[in-house]
Amino acid sequence: MAILTMNRKAYRTDQDLIEGLKRNDSKALDALYQMSFGQVKQWMMQNNGSEQDAEDIFQDAVLAVWKNVKEGKYEKKNNVKLSTYLFQVCKFRWYENLKSARVKYNTKLDSEMDVIDTDGMNEISEQSERVKYLHQLFHQLGEKCKSILQFYYYQKMPLAQIAEQMGYTAQSAKNEKYRCMQRLKKLHQN
């Protein structure tokens, strides 16, 4: 598959990254990590955070940014570089975290937060909460259902290929996919 063989060098511009994120390409995540995590970690360490905190915050932020990209909300934030945006989201999330934990943070952080465009940041927090919720819901499904649905809707694998991989006929793969979607729907209704 072309997507799988595409190497990291393909992600040279923000536009490439955005396209990659829309395709759910893990290489885009890789590129994003290499581009931004070091910076985020360093900043977090200077602001009462641990390495673990940095990883948690970064993960949250990437997922929220990914969702905004998917939903076309990022492109509306004209001319903000993806890495800048991601860093701001991390800062904002950590700032919120410190505030709620009532940890003493320095006033330097306060003034830094004043500069951040907090417009849409609350929505970001909701996005990461939403991902966590959907994640636990999905993992209530059985392994077979999770596989078939991920193959089809996440990896965009053709149904014929899924059937071959999982040992189904084309028709039974289609039936299984339907059955699993119904299950997932039930989980949402509960």
């Binding site: 990590y33 990883e55 809707y153 949402h188």
Partner: protein, 241 residues
Amino acid sequence: MKSEEDKMDQLDRYLEGNMTEAEKQLFESRLESDSELRDALKDHKLLIETIESAAMKDTLSQVMAQQRDKGKAGVRSINRTWIAVAASVVILFGAFFFLGPFSGGGNLYEEYYQPDPGLPTTMSTESNLRFTEAMVQYKQGEYRSALAEFDQLMNDNPASDTLLFYRGICHMELDQPEVSAFLFNQISTDSRLFGEKAQWYRALALLQDDNTAEAIAALQVISDQADHRYHEQANTLLEKL
């Protein structure tokens, strides 16, 4: 009458952009008039969002874990500043060693620890060229790159005490003492070159890891052997614990 599967299939094809123009027009005009179809589409989108979000979160966790491991193995390049800092840290450790332990302040592990000076690298044959290169990096305080090389060599030579030992020191330098203690523990106490060294550095790694109880036990073993090359140091360190 369409089966439920076929209806879902249609929603998929619409969202994937796999409809012909005419089909799409028909579908969209139906969407306007048919509220049931609108709800079905909305529900369907929610399910897809669920699948993608869950899978994306799992993928990201995997990507981050892989990158973290790579970072530990030193594939990530380190900048010159870091090397300079590491080098000066080595010089400081060396100074403390020669000036004797300073009193008060810093923790005991820092007082007693200095990285092993490494092995001579002047004579190298083709076969151990890679080891030599790794050793040069080690001596320059480039522990990340050195570790990456040592780890590679380990694949060909898993039982090498030399590799176990220097990987252990690298992990201490990279502040991963629990890994170091684990590696040192695999070196046989009979190893002529590294057996006693490994025992001593393991004790220091345990101290670095704030595992005082095990550190004391490890030091006691050394202290009990009068002819152990770290006998004296173990004794004085034990007194302070």
